[in-house]
Symmetry: C2
Subunit: 305 residues, 2 copies
């Protein structure tokens, strides 16, 4: 199964008509994760017909408005829609106070369990894990405390090589799960059949690294090495590299360098400054360094294979 | 000069595509007032080409999300646009803490003076006044502390009746302002010319009362008596009158009754529940009781004469 990423907003700073701030919806192994939540995210979710009641986990990179001002509205809308399921919010320390203060003053406590996981470490942390998926923080370098997030599929079960399995009448259906789990099989005559003679390697796990916002920060490379897809912000082009440095953002060239050095399979860039009307210029700057680069576009769905 | 009202959003509860929560932009005597500020208001201001740097005063009726979740984003955008002018925010006690907490945690203090005027009285208060305009609170009856706002032009100067004035060569240009201010004129021969023989009454001052959200609350009638235009919420139709009572909202019939009893000149209704697809039904319920009723529509400009 592929990962499916829907870009809900990919612009920086102020929301404008048809230029929404950061938010992404990631489908991975039957999980529905929301990443960042700028103002208007709930309307974008509706616009692109995403059944947002499925979202159980929201990851907020940092507390600049273009990454979280839409969160309180979404939390409130879930309440108005009579949500009952737990909602987990992962974000910088302080996010709980921001949301709960507003719920308190509007006398609008949620009826569903709203659970905050506040982050403050400057080292990578495993913040979510179940049988199929892990999520780790990727500490970034921005004007306020900021994390990217690394979403990783776990290695799945081995696949039955049915051509081989069916050669042995002794192997019954009830043995299949043991084989998928990697166990060898011993025939009644004592012959050991090694597992890798009966099964095939599982599909390689896929991974998605979301990195926004950050200055050029090669320290992240070991952690994002070989990911299937990297989203890396590029607020500016090279013409504004000094402004990128001052504001602790990246240029398209810098994002491409990170992708190249980390040997990722695919790069998606976004978080464009409003000063650039022509987004192709970002692609023109990135692709000479890292060819497999795509522009983030609102409403576009990216299949990560 | 007319009052000019632009409706930016006129729906209740959750923002949806083409159905934005409450916000209005009022132009009165060279003032540019923003009334309520639901999520996405700053985008609506851009969509309808309103030069929103002109806004110096924002009035927030109450702390339910559909009336104020867009405020922090607008305050931040003003900062990013290098605003220097003062911004005054009038709203329920707590609004300062909500906004300043978010600015603090995002390390994004405004460079312009941001001044909060927190409200907590249950009696009408004069909250803004200058030479031309007054703004008063209209205490409403809702689930949380809520005010409407009454915007009133002050009575202007008397107008010169030039046909009369020019009959007296002794009256010179430098006397005109005294006449406009209501003073009589004494001719050299001792004859008293009463002011009202030389001047005409000033244009009657206009007024706009914004009432959202509230249950049916006739207590407001003395305060809004004879206003030029009343905006009164009508979340529901009569079929949901019991729900209106429970949630402390009004029906179209109730809004029309208030308009009729207050003998206002015009009624605008809005804050529609998302359950009603056909807004004409609100008009059909209100007009038999109060004929001069208009529907609030997003982006529509209302001239108040």
């Amino acid at each position: 199964m592929s990962l499916k990423l829907t870009v809900l907003g990919c612009h920086s700073a102020t929301p404008r008509v048809n230029a929404h701030p950061t938010s992404q919806f990631l489908e991975i192994k039957n999980h529905h994760f929301l990443i960042d939540c700028g103002e208007g995210t709930q309307v974008q979710l509706r616009k692109y017909s995403i059944k947002f009641s499925k979202i159980k986990h929201i990851f907020i990179s940092h507390l600049h408005g273009d990454h979280f001002f839409g969160l309180v509205g979404l939390v409130s809308t879930f309440r108005l829609l009579n949500r009952e399921n737990e909602l987990h919010v992962y974000g910088p320390k302080g996010i709980k106070e921001i949301i709960t203060l507003q719920l308190k003053l509007s006398n609008s406590w949620t009826h569903y369990p709203l659970l905050f996981h506040e982050l403050s470490s400057n080292k990578p942390e495993l913040i979510f894990e179940d049988a199929t998926v892990e999520v780790h923080t990727i500490p970034l370098n921005h004007r306020v405390y900021t994390n990217g997030f690394l979403f990783k599929e776990k290695l799945g079960e081995r696949k039955l090589n049915m051509n081989k399995v069916l050669q042995y009448s002794e192997i019954e259906t009830c043995d299949y799960q043991n084989l998928k789990n990697g166990r060898d099989f011993i025939l009644k005559n004592g012959t050991l059949l090694k597992n890798n003679t009966l099964t095939l390697d599982p599909t390689p796990p896929k991974s998605y690294a979301f990195c926004s916002d950050t200055s050029y920060f090669p320290e992240i490379i070991p952690q994002i090495k070989n990911v299937t897809c990297l989203y890396h912000e590029t607020t500016f082009l090279k013409d504004k590299e000094s402004l990128a440095t001052t504001t602790m953002h990246s240029t398209a060239e810098q994002a491409a360098k990170i992708a190249k050095e980390a040997t990722v399979k695919q790069l998606i860039i976004g978080h464009y400054s409003g000063r650039y009307k022509n987004k192709e210029a970002f692609l023109n700057e990135a692709t000479p360094i890292f060819k497999n680069t795509l522009l983030a576009e609102e409403g576009k769905v990216y299949t990560i294979n």
